[in-house]
Structures are given as structure tokens and as C-alpha cells.
Symmetry: C2
């Protein structure tokens, strides 16, 4: 079995992550809820994980790292928790056609509340067109929401360029679902106000993990309400972070997995990225040699290679690769409908590799595609 | 170390849960996102878990079982997703002073949007006063939100009695955080429209698991928005359940843990409840014999025993029990501020046992309290 669906969920977790999760499940106690030894030990570990993430991403302060169940929840807190205020003023947000439904759907929801949403197109090379984005910006533009890497093709704008073309007081929210754990991200240096992190992909944590990191001027209102273990007498959510945004029992094992995954990556990021880039190069070159294959990706450190086959729908190709060649890839729209419109595609096959895949798996995969197209 | 904080997070998970979670983490794939073998196997397992929960709780249909990260998220979906509509009409919701902040805080948030919230008091025995609740009900009452067991004292109203005193068309939302896994709950028989489930307490799953089950007439709008793996072309959330309420990657390991925990409990529920009741009896009798202890709990199947000490704050007592006697209990308000007002308490010590605790641990605990009070 070859697992090339790492952009959905990373297939291999390092042993240190697995061990830490098993221990965290057995630790049992509830961080931040009780004052006994076990609970306090869990709470300290959670704060250590906030610190690890804050350092890894050049974040602003560790109390501005909130843990979420996935990247989608993080994006919802950033978008609903902040942009809803702008909606009431009829303000504008710029974003891109490369966004995932985790950005598109909350933004479209806020349209009903008065938010104006403008979409930057792709340029001729299939990249996010930062020039075109700059032309959408007006005095009424309060925020930009931009993915750091398309989950469909792996194309990736320069976040510094994006920051340059939007006003200083315009908030910059970045979807890091595919980019986190693959490239160096420094929020402060890049002027990113909010970074949404998926824990279970490049960051090597388990499903159920994710985070939102944000700047001092980015102050989300809560999207959900509940117990925080703090200010229990208060019928409103506390007004300090992280508590304001974390209601109910956090998933301690998931948080620990994200912390451990980050520590593991810390000294291996460029090594992983190089291995992944090499494999995308192999895949892209190999696919370019197969008749009937149309490529939509360029070499990238995110491990994403998208393509279509002449005369075979993407879902059918993915099904065939799974059934007949034991290769796991994804077909379809990948929850990014505007990207497909922009690419004039009705669905793509996406092979996505991690640093735990091998060049030899890439060759086997290429052979499978060759056989599939020659049927 | 004696762990008597099971009402916060269950301290022991059965081996079958631990094994299933470890396998689920290694399975890796993303349920409902791709069409390959691994992903489909995960999707099937998730649906099997929906079915297991639906059967266990006498639910309405398995597509009306949505997985959440905790009970708080489930309550938020039920309250914000449905009662916000009533808020716009200025309708009334009845609830009780025994509710947790996971109910109080979302309800208080909706007050700003026009919802009227009325609180039923406790009766003379420290139970939720269902008669008083019935008197709060008017033609304008659209829903009742009632805990199935107080997380502070373990008091528990008869849900059938609650159902009787509210009109047929009044929605009944129940917080099952402390009750699920401890007593038999049959949603259809009891006329419960929405049941919020914590996965990591009585249900024996891991942190990060939870669920909302709901009736055919209970149709929550989404609280968060994102990819669902379905209708990817649609910029709105799909209008069918469970997809409408589950955005972003679900935590497959957590869902599996909840399914496995439920299966484990299926034939052991009454056995567990009896063991727990016995231990609460032991604790309550023992504490009643210690000078300076004031009890707030009666024998119950939820394992909750709340008490105060003369001349020692609850947090200090909990700290002392942890530091000097290696006993883990919780002090403070337990995120239920109105309950403390009703009990005229400024904080309580809560010992909470599970079926994995032992009568001998209860004796050691009683000895510790005795020593603590005699200092």
C-alpha cells in the first residue's frame, strides 16, 4: 500500500508523537480544571506546547496560541470572531480563488451579514495573482485572508509580497493547513496577524489537533461559549486569552501530539522540505512523460502534485489506483471550488507525499499511472 | 495516588479503548475526504460509531449523530444553532440553576440577541425544582435546557417529569456531560430532542471526543463553516446531516474511542452504576461521620460527592489532599456559578469516582479527610 494522501492527513507519525499521545491518554487528568498534581502537570504541558508553537511560528506571545480541533475551527475563530465586526460596517475583505471551503464558507456566511468579499484570481502561471489582489484593495479593506499553499496544486504566494500590497492596518489572516510543517513561517517578520494551523498534516500531530496563533491587535470574540476553568462566577467568557477562545475540555492528547510533532520538526524542517521537493520533482517529471496526463502543479515543498487524465474522471482514477494498484490518492474538488473554476478543471487527482514516503514509492506510483492510462 | 476527579475527565480507559485509539492513529487516513481504501474504511468506522451511539441513547437516526470535540461544542451547536432563531422572536427558554457554564454562557450570549432566559431554582432537597420550572413555562417558551445530572452535586431531575411539564412543541435539550455512561438514557422514550454527550468522562473515550444526538424536528444551523468532503462546489454548508454540522477533519481516533467506550459500557452500565452508587454511599456515610464536614450530595450513580469543610476553603482542601495525601479531587465553583448561589456555597470539594475506583480507595480518602479536618 502506498499512501500518497498526506495533504488530507499525514500517514506516518514519528514514534515520539505516538509515545507521547499514549502517555497523555493515560495521564487522564483535565488541564486547567482542578488544582491537583495530575491536573497541574497537564496544564503545564499545555502551556509548554503553546510556547513551542509560538517559537516555531515566530508568534507574538504564548497566550495568543489557542488550541482547536482542526484548522477549520481555527479559521472560523479568526474569520467569524473578528470579521463579523467588519461585516456590520459593510467593510471589504480580500481573499483568493485558491482558498479552501474552510475559508470560503465562513466568508460567504458573513456576506449575509454585510461583509463584502473580493476574490483575487490566479495569474497566467497558476499562482495567486498578488498584483491583482493589490488592485482589489481599497480604503474599505479591513482584512486579507490568504492561503500559504493551495491544497489543490501546492501553489503558494509570497506572504511578504501580500503584506506589502495591503495597508499596514489591514489584518492578514493566513490559512496554514498545507504550509505549516513544510516551510519556515515567521508571523512577526511576515506581518501575519493570524495563522491557522492543522495539526494532523505537515505538523505530524494526530487528528483532533490544530491551533490559531494571533497578534496583539487581532482580538477574536468567542465563537463558542462554555466553561474555561477560569472566572467560573462569570456568565460571560473571560476577556483574556487563551481562555476566551477555549471553552470546554481541551484534547490534551491532541495538544501533546502537536507539541511533540513540532519539536520533532524543529531541526528537520529543511531536510523534510528538500526530500519532499525532490519527490514532487520526480513525480512531476515522470507524469509529464505519460501520454494523456495534464499537470497542474510545479515542484513544491508541500508535497502536492495535481493532475488530470484524458478520458478518465479524477474520482475514477483515484478509485482505480486504490483498487488495482493499492495507491491512495484523492480525486475530486478537494473542497476548493473556486480554484477549479480558475483552473478550468472539473476535478483533479492529487498525489501528496510526506517526508516519510520514498523515491521508490514514487516510481511504483508512476508505473501505476502509466498502466492506468494505457488501459 | 487516588484519582477521584472522574467527573472532570475519566481517569481509566478500558484496554479496548486504548488499543482501538492506537490503531486509529496509525490508520492515518481521513474519513470522508478521499475515495481510497484506507479513507473509506475510516468513513465506515465513523458511521458504525454513529450507529453505536444512536442505539445506546435511543436516538432518532444515525445521521443525526454528529461528533464534536467535547460536550461544550455539542451544547453550543444545540443552543446557538437552534435557539438563536428564537432569540430573534424574543422567545423564552427555561433552564435551571444547576446548569454548567457550557449551557449558561451560550444562553447568556443569546440574551444579547433577544432571547429571554428563565432559571428554575432548586427545591428544599437540593434537587432541580421541576414544579417551579413548570410555572415558568408560558406560550412563549420554545425550549427547555436541562442537565441530566449536576456536575456539582450529582442531583438529577427526572427527565420524564420535565418532559411532562413542558408543552409537546417545546424542544427539550439535555446536557448529558455527567449522566452519559452512568444511567440509561432513551431519547425517544423520554422525548429528548437534543442530547449533548461528553466522550471523556462516563463514556470512557479520550479527551477530544463528544457528540450531539438530535430529533427530526431539531434542525441546528451550523456554528462553524468549512469543508465537509461533500458538495465541495457549494459555498454554503450542505443542508443535510451530519455533514451540515461537521466541518473540517474529524478526530478519527477520538470518534473511535467513543464508539469503543460505548460498546464496552453496553452490557456493563448497571454493574458500573451499582459499583459507583455503592462508593458514593460509602463516601457520604463516611464524610457524615467527620466533624466539620458539610455534605451537598446524596447517593447517586454519577459518582459525585460534594462537601465543604469548616474553616478551610475548597481549593485549599483540594490542594492539601493532593499535596499531602496524594488524592486528586477538585475544589472551587466547578463552572456552575448559579448552582453555588442556590446552595449558598462559595465553593465545594468534589470527589468523583468511576467504576474503576475501589472501596478501599474510598476508605483511604475518608482517612485523609479525617486527618485534614483534625489539623
Amino acid at each position: 500500500m502506498i499512501y500518497f494522501d498526506n495533504a488530507a492527513t499525514g500517514g506516518v507519525k514519528p514514534d515520539c508523537v505516538l509515545t507521547a499521545v499514549a502517555a497523555a491518554i493515560k495521564a487522564g487528568a483535565n488541564p486547567g480544571r482542578s488544582g491537583h498534581k495530575l491536573s497541574l502537570a497537564c496544564l503545564e504541558r499545555v502551556y509548554a506546547c503553546r510556547k513551542i508553537l509560538c517559537e516555531f511560528f515566530g508568534g507574538y506571545s504564548y497566550d495568543r496560541v489557542v488550541f482547536t480541533k482542526n484548522c477549520t475551527e481555527a479559521l472560523n475563530i479568526a474569520i467569524l470572531g473578528v470579521l463579523e465586526r467588519f461585516a456590520a460596517e459593510g467593510a471589504t475583505v480580500v481573499t483568493t480563488v485558491a482558498e479552501h471551503n474552510s475559508v470560503l464558507r465562513p466568508l460567504e456566511f458573513l456576506k449575509n451579514k454585510g461583509l463584502k468579499v473580493q476574490y483575487a484570481p490566479l495569474d497566467g502561471n497558476g499562482n495567486i495573482d498578488v498584483d491583482a489582489l493589490s488592485k482589489l484593495v481599497t480604503q474599505n479593506t479591513k482584512a486579507a485572508v490568504v492561503t500559504l499553499a493551495s491544497n489543490v496544486t501546492g501553489c503558494s504566494p509570497s506572504v511578504k509580497d501580500v503584506r506589502k500590497v495591503i495597508p499596514q492596518d489591514c489584518l492578514l489572516i493566513c490559512d496554514g493547513a498545507q504550509a505549516c510543517g513544510h516551510i519556515t513561517i515567521d508571523m512577526k517578520k511576515s506581518g501575519i496577524d493570524a495563522l491557522a494551523v492543522a495539526g494532523h498534516k505537515g505538523m505530524l500531530g494526530i487528528q483532533g489537533s490544530g491551533a490559531l496563533l494571533f497578534s496583539e491587535r487581532f482580538n477574536p470574540d468567542p465563537v463558542t461559549f462554555g466553561g474555561t476553568g477560569s472566572e467560573s462566577y462569570n456568565l460571560q467568557m473571560p476577556d483574556f486569552y487563551p481562555d476566551r477562545l477555549e471553552s470546554g475540555t481541551d484534547s490534551y492528547p491532541a495538544i501533546v501530539s502537536l507539541g511533540e510533532g513540532t519539536l520533532y520538526l524543529k531541526d528537520r524542517l529543511s531536510e523534510h522540505a528538500a526530500a519532499i521537493e525532490d519527490m514532487t520533482k520526480t513525480l512531476i517529471y515522470g507524469l509529464s512523460q505519460i501520454r494523456g496526463v495534464k499537470l497542474y502543479s510545479k515542484v513544491n515543498p508541500f508535497g502536492i502534485v495535481a493532475f488530470s487524465l484524458e478520458n478518465m474522471q479524477s474520482e475514477m482514477a483515484a478509485y482505480n489506483l486504490s483498487e488495482n494498484f493499492s495507491v491512495c490518492v484523492r480525486g475530486g474538488l478537494h473542497c476548493a471550488p473556486l480554484m477549479h473554476k480558475a483552473l478550468e478543471s472539473e476535478g483533479l487527482v492529487r498525489a501528496s507525499v510526506s517526508a516519510f514516503n520514498t523515491p521508490s514509492e514514487c516510481q511504483t506510483f508512476l508505473q501505476a499511472v502509466k498502466e492506468l492510462t494505457s488501459v
